[in-house]
Point group: D2
């Protein structure tokens, strides 16, 4: 049924675990709490799952903000890149969440060369509700207007390095 | 980095390929065209990826609507179930799409016992932009209010069967 | 061009200013801070305005949560009503906001009999960006499944009363 | 309760009814059908009202697309402007809609100098569910990056003129 090679979907062939040059798999992480709102939920009374991906996208930005001390708009101005679009993602939905729930999102990053992987764990009162993994690329806009992936700047990686 | 057994993430251990009782892998499919709107796109000028999952969710409903001749609200009233929440999904983003693009979404279904898998292919002018696969369960609301998975009704499966 | 009587659009003919029985126009208010995210913004780089209404809807729930000490889901369970759908709203957009902005939303409520009006002011660093006013009704679900407006319970009003 | 002069909120003081130079109030209109999806609805089973504004925003783009024969992205490239952000909007919600509903949106435009007003009527089977009015400005991006309103190009107005 699936024409693409899904088996290798998340094998990070070109990714060095941890930060390049760090010599070991250093993970940088961030945690934030998000309120699930009425408008995030569907007629079954539970969250409409695309909202989770909105939460995860913001969680990735929050991770960079914590490491670099810059919001995404400042990041785009400072490093002259055009974002970190998603290449692939996958998620497992273990427990539904509902409006009024204050969920915790733990996010961890691993850098490759021109890409990075983020793992998000969304939980409610300690119970995991969603696990998500995403691979993103660091892109710049070429003079012709097209987006092209480029190596994550060393300056950015340095900020993520923690002893 | 990944604590769960992602390798078996999409091995449909309990799914019989095709429709139960059909004796062979019969796929039911549907195609629809979706306009990407200004409000679906982000400051990079391309679609904000959670919108794809909104499109895929509606495409799954459209597939059922085509097979059963019932909209989702009619489906919920007719079969007295409470929806088909997502258990897991994964997607690959190959080409970005932009506002004004009329994309084509091809969706195919394979039934298991209390679950089914859908594969969506979103393309623009014949070029694949996104591939997505989702696994969903057929759920009913128990007297205590909790959602519980249940076998997909034979009557529903029959409608999907095509000679 | 406008067939309806827009002039009387927001004249609260049947609303008593302030809380019934309070003898004077007591306003209950709440303030919260909301981060504008990348995914809330459009290709012009500013917030896509329907997102403001998502923020205002959640701000209305937050106002009730602060007054009653109940999240909306608890509120629906406790008072056996079905929500407070919007009857009408209007908004003025004075200054755009962008991703990374932490905006402040001040919300004030005035009760009528079976309805209430909320005024939201969304500001950034003290500068008003959006003014919004909404009128909502308190609804219950009738045995036939239809939603019908009903007087806001005295118990709810009492919680909003502050000396 | 309302500090701003809401009475004059929608009096188009600087707007000439109809198209400038047309000598009379010529209205250009467009109609489209939109499916309300499961994910557009909230736990009350009816549409979450910010989704209406997403529909209206796309309806405004559709109106321009019909008049000019250009999608919004082509429009932005052709006329070198940066969009038509909303200055103010108001809406009345008369009847709820639900997932599976195919609603009709009728949109009419009236041009001012650097602005225009759109009236949307959303109906289901001939019954009006929502009435919305919006005022937008035609903006260009200044060299310093700021958005500034500018007179709607004569070439655009000409395309809207119908005998």
């Amino acid at each position: 049924m699936i024409p693409v090679d899904w088996k290798s979907f998340f094998e990070p062939a070109h990714a060095t675990p941890g930060l390049p040059g760090s010599g070991h798999a250093t993970l940088f992480s961030n945690t934030r709490v998000v309120r699930i709102d009425w408008g995030d939920c569907d007629p079954a009374g539970i969250i409409f799952y695309p909202r989770y991906f909105e939460i995860f996208d913001a969680s990735t930005s929050a991770l960079f903000e914590r490491a670099l001390g810059l919001t995404k708009i400042e990041l785009l101005k400072t490093y002259d890149f055009s974002g970190f679009p998603l290449v692939r993602t996958r998620a497992r939905f273990l427990q539904p969440t509902r409006y009024g729930d204050d969920v915790t999102v733990d996010s961890k990053i691993t850098f490759g060369h021109a890409s990075f992987e983020i793992e998000h764990r969304l939980s409610l009162k300690g119970v995991t509700c969603v696990e998500c993994e995403e691979k993103r690329v660091w892109v710049v806009r070429e003079p012709d207007g097209r987006l092209k992936s480029r190596r994550v700047p060393e300056e950015v990686l340095r900020k993520f390095r923690v002893i």
